[in-house]
Assembly symmetry: C2
Homo-oligomer: 183 residues x 2
DNA sequence: ATGTTTCTGAACACTGTGTTCGGTTATAAA
DNA sequence: TTTATAACCGAACACAGTGTTCAGAAACAT
């Protein structure tokens, strides 16, 4: 099945809307951006917007898609050591910085991370430590990551991704390992 | 200055509005509650609402006030060991559970905690570790607390406040101390 | 050149916010 | 018990935003 060629107008419209949203988010933050703002900036008809996306959030998510795909790829790649979930964090710092998504997308990054961590923690934990629920542990590790990321973005990337990753591991790894191995 | 006696009607109205908001939050979550909902439930005139509070969030905050005052008291109390910020967390777990505020108020708890932690961390850190900004550290410690609290509330308090506090310390203390003492 | 798809933009119904104001009622205090 | 006043009511209003519809214009692929 040869993949359907996409009408130029569709491509163009979606691009305009995504760019407009990006700009507006940088200018005043996602929470304050309205559909009206976006279509004015993009110079696109109101009905056109709703022909493509059912809401602002859907438009936002459409821009997040490439990043998500990249993580998916990375996780299924051979070079990834499944014994150490920590290997993931540096990549994430780097990619999120490059993507410039701002912290709106972080909600989705968090969900993604949580699911991944939960799988791996369930396996890695010895039975006697199930008195600390793996769900709680996964939630903590993912949330901590998001916390550092949020600070990093808020302060406009004052440290390198490598440094941030180092701090993250120093902070989170000891406590987590202690609980996993036997508390 | 003898404290002004409050008109019964004022007391009554504020109470009705706060109760209505509480109920509605439990029923459908803060995000979905409107001013209209609240005044309908409280059976209070629209203009009356705005005579008392300038927005829904202000109404929410007014309910949070007693909790905040309690922390303020605790912190200025003699029995509190200023060398160890960790002593605070158990009280917080207990009080937030009692208050049943849900996670909406957590945003404000976080701000409060952050400010407090930052003060104490700045003093407790040796100079050579300033390569990890104290603001980042405070942000992490506060965020981790909120993360555990969020999970706890979401899962309807499956563990005791004491147990939660124990886990929190086990997770967060090692990494934080390591960085503070010399990384 | 032609048939199809997409875009346009104005109109519409809807939900919610926050303000104003004349009239009513509850309250505190004399 | 009266009375001045402070609080409440509710309807009306202006406003901003959402999401839908539809007929006509424009861009597109072939």
């Amino acid at each position: 099945m040869p993949k359907q060629k996409i009408d130029r107008r569709v491509e163009r419209t979606r691009q305009l809307l995504q760019n407009a949203l990006s700009e507006l988010i940088l200018e005043k933050g996602y929470e304050k951006v309205t559909v009206q703002d976006v279509i004015d900036r993009a110079n696109v008809g109101r009905s056109t917007f709703y022909a493509h996306f059912e809401s602002l959030e859907q438009l936002l998510l459409s821009g997040f898609e490439p990043l998500r795909a990249q993580f998916e790829d990375f996780l299924s790649g051979a070079e990834f050591d499944h014994e150490s979930p920590w290997a993931l964090s540096l990549t994430m710092f780097q990619q999120v910085q490059k993507q410039q998504g701002g912290y709106i997308t972080l909600t989705h990054v968090q969900k993604f991370l949580y699911g991944y961590l939960l799988d791996h923690l369930k396996m890695g934990m010895t039975k006697r430590n199930k008195n600390v629920p793996p769900e709680l542990l996964a939630h903590y590790v993912a949330s901590s990551f998001i916390a550092l990321m949020t600070w990093w973005i808020d302060n406009e990337y004052p440290l390198s991704a490598e440094k941030m990753n180092e701090i993250y591991r120093q902070l989170v790894e000891p406590g987590t390992m202690a609980i996993m191995m036997g508390g």
